[in-house]
């Protein structure tokens, strides 16, 4: 028996399938998986979000194309902070066979961003606001306002990105959200990592659609605009609403940033990890710990090193062998976390992609 949530998901999938079929139909897309083929359009060139992506082979990737791709990526990051737009965004995620979807009206002007969620019912009515420094999330049902610091946007590390990904720019332009767009495919050079397809507005480089696929080709998430208006003026009041909050909760800001030189100590995570990840920054973490953020140019993972608490923590999850020691692995919402205890510290690796990648990273730290 179908639940309401399943029906909504199916409806959203059909909607997205219809958008895909009317959008960039000429784009090379992987074949639909049998499990979800019923929700996709009958057009062979269009696919439902659950379609399995076949790793793309790019036989001719010239220096000119690389320059074009790099320029497009740079423009995309610049657009994120400078181009004004508003539209309706659809997000679908897949986790362990469970599908979640959300629809929101999104407006962005410089560093200001506002999202008003329309669906699902559990999120409808909630507002996300950001001024680039802090995030405010308001739930009208509980009249609760949560204020959190927002991390500083990191600079795009193109050399690292090209080192870890094969970037393929589709030479043709396509259509999505009734706008002409360019398609960039980011194929990881290391196994076990997700690959991405970016649909960037041809004129402004605003990201119109972002697809993420697991290493095995199964979809992880898709974010796309059904309709979008780029340019124009958005009233400032939209980014500064007054909430009749009855309860305000503030979360702790992130701690001081630490230098990479601290990596000489064993208690600090290494500066380089498996699969091409390099440390982006290290900072004080909750529980008197250290958090190091690693990036491969696109993807982000976190490694935490906490002093052992008293009593020592109970590590929940599936027992896993990490080489010199054992740990636990568990999926939390959309992340995989691997924990273990070594050198009188608790270590936690958190990745957004797969269990295998989390284990690879953890083993690399244990056996360094």
């Amino acid at each position: 028996m179908l639940s309401i949530h399943s029906v909504k998901t199916l409806a959203l999938s059909l909607l997205l399938g219809a958008v895909l079929s009317t959008g960039c139909g000429a784009t090379r897309r992987p074949p639909a998986s049998p499990a979800r083929s019923s929700s996709s359009s009958s057009t062979s060139s269009s696919h439902a979000p659950a379609a399995r992506a076949v790793p793309l082979r790019a036989p001719a990737f010239t220096a000119k194309q690389a320059n074009q791709a790099a320029n497009l990526l740079r423009r995309s990051q610049w657009a994120q902070a400078h181009v004004t737009w508003e539209g309706r965004e659809l997000t679908i995620t897949w986790t362990d066979g469970h599908t979640e979807s959300a629809m929101a009206n999104v407006a962005r002007d410089g560093m200001h961003e506002r999202r008003d969620y329309l669906a699902p019912k559990t999120l409808a009515g909630r507002t996300w606001l950001s001024d680039g420094k802090q995030v405010r999330i308001y739930n009208p049902r509980t009249k609760r306002l949560v204020i959190s610091p927002q991390g500083t946007m990191s600079a795009l590390n193109l050399p690292l990105l090209f080192q870890n990904y094969q970037v393929v720019l589709d030479p043709k332009t396509h259509m999505t959200a009734e706008r002409s767009c360019r398609i960039l495919r980011l194929q990881p050079r290391h196994g076990g990592k997700p690959h991405r397809v970016l649909w960037l507005d041809a004129a402004t480089a605003v990201t119109l659609k972002h697809e993420r696929y697991h290493a095995d080709g199964s979809p992880a998430s898709i974010t796309q605009f059904n309709d979008i208006k780029i340019g124009g003026v958005i009233p400032s009041s939209r980014f500064h609403p007054r909430f009749p909050a009855q309860q305000v909760r503030r979360t702790e800001p992130e701690g001081d940033e630490r230098w990479e030189g601290d990596h000489n100590t064993r208690s600090f995570p290494p500066s380089r990890l498996h699969s091409g990840y390099r440390v982006q920054k290290c900072s004080d973490a909750p529980y008197e710990g250290i958090r190091c953020a690693y990036t491969d140019g696109v993807d982000l993972l976190s490694v935490y090193s906490l002093p052992l608490s008293s009593p020592p923590p109970a590590l929940h999850g599936e027992k896993v062998n990490l080489g010199h020691t054992t740990g636990t692995a568990r999926a939390m919402a959309h992340q995989w976390a691997v924990s273990w205890i070594a050198e009188r510290r608790q270590w936690v690796v958190i990745v957004d992609s797969s269990r295998d990648l989390a284990l690879q990273i953890a083993r690399g730290i244990v056996t360094r």
Binding site: T93, E100, R126, V135, I137, R291, T295, M332, A337, V348
Partner: protein
């Protein structure tokens, strides 16, 4: 010398329980006082009569009846406290006192500190929250799912 009558001393005189002077006094008085002498003679005759009487003998079933009565009395159970031996009676008295002292000692000992938990929390939930915040500031990351998860997790309660 006649003097007062010595009637009250006659019984002791016959038993020779008086002192030498009293014996002489009573003897001298009896020689001159006829009533007292007559009283002494009556007393001597009575005593002689009693001495000549046969000794009293018990009834024929006296001893049998006496034994039966004793047996009946032995058959009646004694109260429990009378059946206890002396050490047992001592223990009976001392036991409550010892228990009271023990209770006082136990009550005076402070409660042991609560046993600490064997394991603490692993904080992974909070760490994932911090990871999501960092991910929201990463270029080229699809922000839709990140925002969706954060909105759901932070304002959901």
């Amino acid at each position: 010398m006649r003097g007062p009558h010595t009637l009250s001393l006659h019984s002791a005189y016959l038993d020779q329980d008086l002192g030498v002077e009293e014996m002489r006094h009573v003897a001298a008085h009896l020689e001159v006082c006829r009533p007292c002498e007559a009283d002494l003679r009556r007393m001597e005759r009575t005593r002689a009569l009693l001495r000549d009487l046969p000794p009293p003998r018990p009834r024929a079933n006296f001893w049998e009846a006496a034994y039966r009565r004793l047996e009946r009395e032995e058959a009646i159970p004694l109260p429990w406290w009378r059946r206890l031996s002396m050490p047992q009676r001592s223990a009976l008295v001392l036991a409550p006192a010892v228990l009271a002292m023990l209770a006082a000692v136990l009550l005076s000992i402070p409660d042991p500190a609560p046993q600490p938990a064997l394991y603490g929390p692993d904080h992974v939930d909070a760490l994932i929250d911090a990871h999501m915040r960092a991910r929201a500031a990463q270029p080229l990351v699809d922000q839709g799912p990140v925002r969706m998860i954060m909105v759901d997790a932070r304002s959901g309660e």
